[in-house]
Amino acid sequence: MWRNNLVIGLRSLLKHRFFTLINTLGLSIGVACAILIGLYVQQELGYDAYNSKANRLYRLKVDLRFGDMDNELVVVPPPAASAFLQDFPEVVAAVRFRERGPWMVRPANTLKQNLQVGKTYYADSSMMDVFDMTLISGLPQAQLRKPNSLMLAKSLAVRLFGTWDVAGKQVQVDDDSVMQDITGVFEDFPVQSHFHPNILFAMAGLPESREPSWLSHNFQTYILLRDGADPKALSAKFPAMVSRYVLPQIKQYFSADVESLNSNGDHLDYYLQPLTDIHLQSSYIGEFEPGGDARYVWVFGSVGIFILLIACVNFINLSTARATGRAREVGIRKTLGSGKTELVIQFLTESIMVSVVSVFLGFLLAWLSVPVLNQVAGSSISIPFQQANLWFSLIGLTLVIGVLAGAYPSFYMAGFPLIDALKGKIQSGKSAQLFRSVLVVFQFAISIALVISTVIVNRQMNFLQNRKLGFDKDQLLVVEDVGSLRSKAASFQNEVSRLPGVTHTTRSSFLPVVGENNNNTIFWPEGKKNVESQVIMTNWRVDFDYVETLGMEMVAGRAFSKDFPTDSQAMILNETAVRTFGLTDPVGTRIITFGGEDENGQPIETPLKVIGVVKDFDYHSVNENVTPLCLMMGFRGSYQAIKVSQADARELVKGVEAAWKKVAPSQPFNYFFADDKFDRMVRNETKVGEVFAAFSLLAIFIACLGLFALAAFMVERRAKEISVRKILGSSSYQIVGLFSREFMLLVGIALLLATPIGLYLMQNWLEGFVFRINFLEVSAIAVGSAGLLSGFIALATVSSTAIRAAMANPAQNLRSE
């Protein structure tokens, strides 16, 4: 029976090559899309799951609200880890990280060039108890214990030393006189980890880690629960812990008690975030790396399923349309004793055969497209050939597609009444035709909704890219690692400022969007040291000429100037900070913050005078509201920003490099142009739009493949009718119209259905953006272009077959009857 089914299936597929080709092509492309999207979704959902203790591992998160400030942080105070360990028996281990760097690193006592190394963290010695790490050099018990010791990632060890077996050697960090001991080398963290340290410094070397303050939040802290511990029950104990540790300090420094806090709606709450949730829920302050976006996982996941459905619909439609052609076979088989079940199995065998070939080709196609996709989308998808799950999923996919596409046609055909089937009296029924029309509408509705979404996504991305940022990123050259020049940084700056074409230059670690931007401290206006008036404000240390170099605009007061020696105790606020403090006449106001500690360990209050207000500029990203920020004087910094007046930037780079070599011949010269870096950052979002557009076009392509074949079939079936009409005087134009009208009507209905669905989804999507395009305007454009595009493609598809039929010699068709 099986052999017979396979044989007849294969021969029948070969006999109807055209339909087999269309089905296989559509399904293969659909399968390739589904596999690629499936890999992406699986990768996104599987972050950090490689940790053997992932199900017991949590990150601490603080939800903090004081006055107008409402922040969610994943950095917590230094003593939190030990307090959790001590107070809660459920917690069996904890590890803290403190982000530092980037640093200049080179093997100790060598003349090798420094390497700039980012993603460097101080870490507690419990690191290896909590996270899965593979130590490939060094002894486990020696790791992260002594000050001035560190661990290297394998890739960095190889870059520095040419080999990874370097435990016991030393490195020099930032040309410091104290050498750092390498105690161990670990395998690089997997792609699917939410952080990828290059260097882990022993926490013992960081005095800040021993500070008792519960009011500064700078340590990423992870806790490991004991087996079977209930995280909910544990979380219920957090408020008591806050009362025990945090509130006394708030009372001490700000004279605020719990009642007054609560009455203002202010709060400070601790939460546990499961390790495996971090990647897709990581838009908090203090993240190690930008994470994924759960919305994209959903969007692409559904797009993958829809594309596959569109391809399956092709199979269903073409099979039922052709079913009458197979009626005689059904009749003969039934006469010879075949039951309905045997026939269903036979037809399902055929659809599963198509599915096997399509999944095979689709897999091949996906495999070939992975590098392209990774390049275009900046993703890091790979096909896990060695995983049994992959092969099981492919087998599952084959069966699902085979049954999904084959079930309806199989039951439809096996259900033909014997006598009619045998006599060839089976006509394509009204209900089957209606069903086909419904499916065509379904295909086009999805395709059109995808096109509408694509247009809106891409418009939004363009909008973000071209929005006014509040600073001028053009013709801004940024030299990195200036901190490594130490005392020579000033002479480098001097050299640079003398270069022809340089209009302004400034030194800072903080640059909008492209630079470091997290450095938050509590501030309050003089005389208002209460909790309500406090503002957690980002503060940037900047040099003279900062505002001028970055092309920012002062809306009140003045920028820092060498003419005012008191500027070292001054600050410039952004407009949002002025609003948050509630200042009506900000210039001249004094703002207080903590600056260092006195001999008793008590924080010293430092007043700063507001000398100016800078117009708000984007500094987190292009999609975040501007938050309060102040600029203060500081002469250190790792970037030298250089504003250029001339267009020929390359000449200027040569001059700057020469100046660098003059002061630091052994240091690498690294630079970037701010607009490049900015574009690359926005491109991440733009890429999503591009990938989305590609999938939408594929969806339309597959839908049109089906439409093309369906039209070809209709034309073939109605060849005689066409001939008779022609003989009776119908023009070719009228005949093409006759066929096109039917399909265009379906596409029209699809447009009507897709428009509200597509627009509704996109409206929701846009709400995730702080800055967004005019929805009404873009909706009109999107619906218009989707309608025109799908209409045009469908018309072209259908009429190409209809025209051929209309041009044919009518006598030919009638004779063959």
């Binding site: 044989v7 021969r11 088989r333 006469t335 010879l336 004793g337 075949s338 039951g339």
Partner: protein, 229 residues
């Protein structure tokens, strides 16, 4: 083997009801060769389809091998059919995608016979029909006569008690037609009951009895040769 009592069959289109069979009573004992004749549209094929359990009557009784089958479900009819009846059609009704061997093998597949046994049986029949040399050919590659031999092979491969032939020579030239008729007569001699619908008086003479239908009614029965139960 076969007995019908007042068998009635109507066909209904949207407006008109046509009576295809009107109270037909026939009796066919096992081993008989019955020819059915009549003008087009008289109900010959309808009768044959009902006798072959392909179609169901609207009224009357049909006893097949002592079962009253007129109310049988499709499943029950299929079972009786595949075990007892072989069909030969005017248009051969071979499946184009299957080779000669596979076409003949098909009925055996539906009786769940083992592969090796099937092969043996199919080869026997093809040998008998002188079609072994064409076993791997496809229907389109054969002449009409050869196709009908394959169709007859398929009809007898199950060793059915009854063969129903609907104008088996209708699409064949005289020589090939004669050939097929001889095969049917031989099968009948070996004990298989044969009921054949034909337009050809010559072919009808191969039967023991000729039944004439007109407008759905049996109008005459003539004995042709000798037939003893």
């Amino acid at each position: 083997m076969i007995r019908t009592t007042n068998l009635v069959k109507h066909y209904r289109t949207e407006e008109i009801e046509t009576t295809a069979l009107n109270e037909v009573n026939i009796h066919v004992p096992a081993g008989e060769f019955l020819s059915i004749m009549g003008p087009s549209g008289c109900g010959k094929s309808t009768l044959l389809n009902i006798l072959g359990l392909i179609d169901t009557p609207n009224g009357g009784e049909y006893h097949f091998l002592d079962h009253e089958v007129s109310k049988y479900s499709e499943k029950e009819r299929a079972k009786l059919r595949k075990e007892n009846i072989g069909f030969v059609f005017q248009s051969f009704n071979l499946i184009d995608e299957l080779s000669v061997f596979e076409n003949v093998e098909l009925p055996l597949i539906y009786t769940n016979m083992k592969g090796a046994d099937r092969k043996k049986r199919v080869e026997e029949v093809l040998e008998q029909m002188n079609m072994m040399h064409r076993r791997n050919h496809f229907p389109q590659q054969l002449s009409g006569g050869q196709q009908q031999r394959v169709a007859v092979s398929r009809a007898i491969v199950n060793q059915p008690k009854l063969i129903l032939a609907d104008e088996p020579t209708g699409n064949l030239d005289t020589a090939n037609g004669e050939d097929v008729m001889k095969i049917l007569a031989d099968l009948n001699k070996q004990g298989t009951t044969v009921i054949m619908v034909t337009h050809s008086p010559h072919n009808a003479e191969f039967g023991h009895r000729i039944l004439r239908l007109l407008d759905g009614k049996v109008v005459s029965e003539d004995k042709v040769g000798q037939f003893h139960l």
